[in-house]
């Protein structure tokens, strides 16, 4: 079973991908590392960040421990948030 999630890119991720929002097909149950693989396969430009970003589902941090289970339903939001360091 798959579903469509809304991906929102912030800061350097937005610049690398070239848009603020996109739609992504993901299985409704998958591990964190599978989710990251799908994301990086579709948005290869993010690879240069070398995983230096947070993934958040519906505004909640997803733990980057590889086998943590992530459950999605259609319409969920996945945010890609690299840190900013300017000031």
């Amino acid at each position: 079973m798959g579903c469509e999630v809304r991906v929102v890119f912030f800061a350097a991720a937005k610049e690398l991908v070239g848009c603020r929002e996109a739609s992504l097909s993901v299985p409704s149950r998958l591990s964190f590392s599978e989710l990251k693989d799908i994301l990086l396969e579709k948005y290869e430009a993010l690879k240069i960040l070398e995983s230096n970003f947070i993934l958040a589902k519906n505004q909640e941090y997803l733990d980057f421990e590889g086998d943590a289970l992530v459950v999605f339903k259609s319409g969920d939001e996945l945010a890609v948030i690299p840190p900013i360091s300017g000031g």
Binding site: N52, D63, G87
Partner: protein, 414 residues
């Protein structure tokens, strides 16, 4: 040293001055006394540090520490609103202290300036004398340094950052919450980190984030409201939207705040991050002298109308500021390290035909950018992509900054 009675009571002058916040139910006299007895260290006296210092000073934080090694530049003034034209060249910590004295006129508080670059040897000594640290810095090494020092000294860290239209804000190592390393265990690859000098920043964005940092400090000190402990506030100035991401709890295996930390003293953070602890650009030195030409030499080529091509690899917004006449704009994306447009190969090929260039008499292609860093990367790329054409690709050494200083003093510098 203020005496015990003064620290436990508000004077009539203080009641008069802070009346509008004193009458807030959860703030009240105990809140004001908490501020009066507090010491807060602001690290970085720039776009974030200015509003943070302004509001904390106005609110009556007893001792305000200001750290900055850097001096005021004219290009700071659009966002660093406590500095002004007369203070260009002055140390930023001293400049803020002077402005607070003049503008905020809060004779009831004390400021302490630290005109230093914090590093592993001096950070603990400075930070240990303050209750809370506010990260208003502009670079990755300082962010890891402050995080580790705050964990080791058990101080909360109010962390803010801003770039372009984006801002981020959270409170680390507070009340059992996560630290910076719990969320970002590894520093980013250095070339993916943009600074305000290259990426640009709209002044109000650090203005908003710095003001929110001051609010978090006041809530931490007065124990009112909910702080951003364990939450990351994201501000998108382009759409005027705030978002609050719930972060994870403290990481049991965090290398600095976990159960068995491997980091028990400060490290060399420039080494850890592969970057300098400032937001200045390091000079790139990629090419041999043969692949480079001085701007004065280029000027002679222009003066004798010798056939050549000048490629300006800056982003379009920068080209709209100033340009050397006759150049072709070929924007280079410093993040993806690619030129954005492939049509230039055809254009250069046509010029080679027009100019009758040959392998014996190749057409010079000069590459220019703002400072002469990106242009070197592009020269390396073009030497490969233009291999089949009768051209010789060279970097214009020092870029438009060199052009302005050595050839055309009227040329704008940004």
């Amino acid at each position: 040293m203020k005496d015990d009675y003064a620290m436990a009571h508000l004077s009539n002058a203080e009641v008069a001055r802070y009346g509008r916040q004193l009458i807030l139910e959860d703030f009240a006299v105990k809140g004001q006394l908490a501020l009066k007895n507090a010491s807060v260290l602001i690290v970085g006296c720039g776009g974030l540090g200015c509003p943070t210092a302004s509001y904390l000073s106005a609110a009556g934080v007893g001792i305000l520490g200001l750290v900055d090694y850097d001096c005021v530049e004219i290009n700071n003034l659009h966002r660093q609103v406590l500095h002004d034209e007369e203070k260009v060249g002055m140390n930023k910590a001293l400049s803020i202290a002077a402005s607070l004295k003049k503008q905020v006129l809060n004779s009831l508080i004390e400021t302490r300036t630290h005109e230093i670059l914090l590093n592993k040897d001096n950070a603990m000594g400075v930070i240990s004398t303050y209750d809370i640290v506010v990260d208003c810095s502009d670079n990755v090494p300082t962010r890891y340094l402050l995080n580790d020092a705050c964990v080791l000294l058990n101080k909360p860290l109010v962390s803010g950052s801003a770039l372009r239209y984006d801002g981020q804000l959270t409170v680390y190592h507070s009340d059992g919450g996560p630290c910076y390393r719990c969320i970002f265990p590894k520093p980013p690859p250095p070339y993916t980190v943009a600074n305000c000098s290259d990426g640009g920043v709209l002044g109000m964005v650090p203005g908003i984030i710095g003001t929110l940092q001051a609010l978090e400090v006041v809530k931490l000190l007065t124990k009112t409201g909910d702080t951003l402990r364990g939450k990351l506030m994201i501000f998108d100035g382009a759409s005027s939207s705030f978002r609050k991401i719930k972060l994870r709890e403290r990481r049991e295996d965090c290398s600095v705040c976990g159960r068995c930390p491997t980091i028990t003293e400060l490290q060399d953070y420039e080494l850890l991050c592969g970057a300098s602890a400032n937001d200045k650009d390091a000079d790139v030195d990629l090419l041999d002298e043969f692949d480079r030409v001085e701007v004065k030499e280029y000027k002679r080529i222009v003066d004798v109308s010798s056939p050549h091509i000048l490629l300006d690899v800056r982003p379009k917004a920068e080209v709209s500021i100033c340009v050397i006449p006759g150049s072709i704009n070929l924007p280079f994306n410093s993040l993806t390290r690619q030129v954005c447009d492939e049509s230039y190969v055809g254009q250069i090929s046509e010029r080679c035909v027009e100019c009758n260039s040959s392998p014996d008499q190749p057409l010079p292609v000069f590459v220019v950018c703002r400072r002469g860093n990106d242009s070197q990367i592009v020269v390396e790329t073009l030497k490969k992509t233009l291999e089949q054409l009768p051209v010789v690709v060279k970097d214009l050494k020092g870029g438009l900054h060199a052009w302005a200083s050595d050839v055309d003093p009227e040329f704008p510098v940004y």
